[in-house]
Symmetry: C2
Subunit: 153 residues, 2 copies
Amino acid sequence: MRKLIASSLVAATAFMGASSAMAEKKDADYVEYRQGVFTAVAWNFGPLVAMAKGEIDFDADLAQRNAERIAQLASMPLEGFRGGPHDAGDGHTHAKDAIWENMDKFEGGMEKFQQEADELAEVAQQGELGPLRQQVSAVGESCKKCHDNFKED
Amino acid sequence: MRKLIASSLVAATAFMGASSAMAEKKDADYVEYRQGVFTAVAWNFGPLVAMAKGEIDFDADLAQRNAERIAQLASMPLEGFRGGPHDAGDGHTHAKDAIWENMDKFEGGMEKFQQEADELAEVAQQGELGPLRQQVSAVGESCKKCHDNFKED
């Protein structure tokens, strides 16, 4: 039985490439991972900003779903900066070396983002635009602070 | 007060670019979003596969955290395929046109992935390698099925 699982495991995960790549990440993997997470954050945050600015109609269900996602995603990017600076290979990284020169400050900024995102998910459950607008602004502020200090334009 | 929030909102989210881009996604946004989510899935799935194959030590806490993340992420990519095929712009998409020619089948595949990922998160809470190996294989199988049908190598 164990052998059966082992062989189906190999077949089922062959598309992921060399198994060593799964456990041992390369520099480019770090860059792609954190950029991927931030892209997913922005995708989900965009409609909340548009609602907060009155550019699209307030949709309480969408707001709640997206806020919950942002809170989930907020825990993910930090580990994508571990052991850097990373060589992005053919890609590009906007991460300033300042991150690794001030890792404590950077971690504090990511923690603040996580807190504000958790609060956003809480607030979105109320189903009211007013408190949401205020917390969208707080989350945006936490993003902006790290971008100003640690991200190249 | 409302005016104050509005102006801080503009300042706090100015880094996100033109506000219209937040609500109205471009083709390249779709491609980047879904690729970003899948990159985050692979990053978190990799160590589970390596544990299942015995390539790294079983770590129950890490397994539980990553499995939970994969279940959260699994709900996200489908909307990145809406309204396609998309022009990736300067980027590249591996998505086959078969997705949009068989959207029902594709949606079914994504639903299967979500179910298997939810089950993975459940199983990981047991803190045992045996059941985890089996469910990692099931998740991998659900990935592979869609890749075979809908993803260019």
